[in-house]
Subunit: 296 residues, 2 copies
């Protein structure tokens, strides 16, 4: 059965009852807006939206459940980058009428799985017919302690630069099943003074210059030590994109304590020092192979 | 120049500096998430997402500025329906690389105009290339006092039903330049006990049964008194959709006071009693011509 035959009301009656909720949700999907409690005078609101588009972020034959996981996990990765916790998600589905009901419910199973894994309530959304292409846009609201959020702009010359995990080759599968580094980021912000952080979505070659630019510094990258996915070259580790690992800067004097504590806490996830921030005036910024540009 | 030639970074450098902000915004577009202050322990968070898709909500030759106004005004209309105030918006743009830079900046002019008109800060978003589809998804976060939010589910048998403005014929132009009824809704919730409210987006024929169903009541509609747009039939007033007017229920005993106060406050905007809620058991629910279904 496709969505034209099923109709919007019946689609929603299938999808809405099992959406993950939590006790902060006063009105979820079904009213004009979602209504939720926001606890804590010591907290700031975090807001993020992101999308996946057929033919760009997933292929027509990608399993729908994997599309759902990816669509939800991408904005959650941005919460990790801020050191915050995601809490509430809204889902916008733009789909041709010929999309099958099965595909759509599988998509929601993936969205729900990722939401549950990070204690995120799905509180509403919107469905619209699309004349051809499938796209899913997710917006997520969450919180971070006022004294604990990590911007891109706090890096200082002399800071060491670290990445979690391994880079490159994400298209072979990781781009569909990566884990947003929320637990790792919360631990980092709870135990160390992280100066600047972001998640790697467009590739180190595009993202590292952005972090440096936001922090008004330049950088040195040690290409030889980059933690590469098995079978990937340095070049691929720099340009492939969709790694969804953390890139962050902290004072060089904290390096040894960080590396020691990380190994104890996250034995299975590599943490690698890949370079450092240097003053802008020190040298011409290194020319990296470019990462992903959404329109080129 | 199109977006492929311009590139994402240059597009963002053009768009981001002039986005409307406010003093609650600590980090807007440019970091991984937006970071904002949420003031008031007496407030609840309101969350809404909505989208406009080329070929569905606007035509290829619709002026981009009007598309932008509509894309932003649609979710703001949902804030009116809850009696709340929108505060922060995120914009997701999915666009083919061949989209012109002019079209895109005009789109943002429309988005910004609607945001400014309702004191909404645009705090970030996402741009993605799309292999054909042009769509804009907007998510908005705002607030409402804990004792003042209006759901769809509080209607009672015996309540009078009202609509603002005139219904039908929206496709002739109003769907691109309607005014979200935020001021009217705030005034209503500040002066009267509104039992249930929603905004009319899919047409009275689809939306009134939804309001009744959420309130677990049935309804009587006086088709003869429907406030119709000039040149529209009753049938069109019921089925056309995209009116973006308020539909609400309040105790019949409040009717006279409401009508008198409304006329003083909003002399130019009609308020019409169009029927009432009745017990579910009283009769079979009236068969209305159906409004809009997104997949049919």
């Amino acid at each position: 059965m496709n969505l034209r035959e099923l109709g919007e009301e019946r689609l929603l009656r299938r999808l809405l009852p099992r959406l993950p909720r939590n006790s902060a949700v006063l009105a979820g999907a079904g009213d004009d807006c979602a209504v939720v409690r926001f606890a804590g005078a010591d907290k700031l609101l975090l807001l993020k939206t992101d999308c996946v588009v057929e033919g760009i972020h997933f292929a027509r034959d990608t399993p729908a459940k994997a599309v759902g996981w990816k669509a939800m996990a991408r904005p959650l990765s941005d919460f990790a980058a801020m050191g915050g916790l995601p809490q509430f998600a809204l889902i916008t589905l733009m789909a041709p009428s010929a999309t099958t009901a099965f595909w759509t419910t599988e998509l929601y199973r993936g969205l729900e799985k990722a939401a549950r894994a990070f204690k995120v309530a799905i509180v509403g959304g919107e469905t619209s017919r699309s004349p051809g292409l499938l796209a899913i846009s997710i917006s997520v609201t969450g919180a971070v302690e006022k004294d604990r959020w990590i911007s891109r702009s706090g890096g200082k010359a002399g800071d060491d630069l670290f990445v979690t995990g391994r880079l490159g080759g994400s298209l072979r599968g990781k781009h569909l099943r990566f884990t947003p580094r929320i637990a790792e980021a919360r631990w980092l912000s709870g135990h160390f003074r992280i100066h600047a952080m972001m998640d790697l979505s467009d590739g180190l070659g595009a993202d590292l210059p952005r972090l440096a630019s936001a922090s008004k510094v330049s950088f040195e990258l040690e290409e030889g030590v980059l933690p590469r996915t098995r079978g990937c070259s340095s070049q691929e580790a720099i340009t492939d994109g969709e790694d969804y690992e953390l890139l962050f800067a902290l004072a060089a004097s904290d390096r040894i304590a960080l590396e020691r504590a990380w190994k104890k806490k996250f034995a299975k996830l590599p943490l690698t020092r890949i370079g450092r921030f240097i003053p802008r005036s020190a040298a011409r910024p290194p020319k990296l192979p470019r990462g992903y540009d959404h329109f080129q």
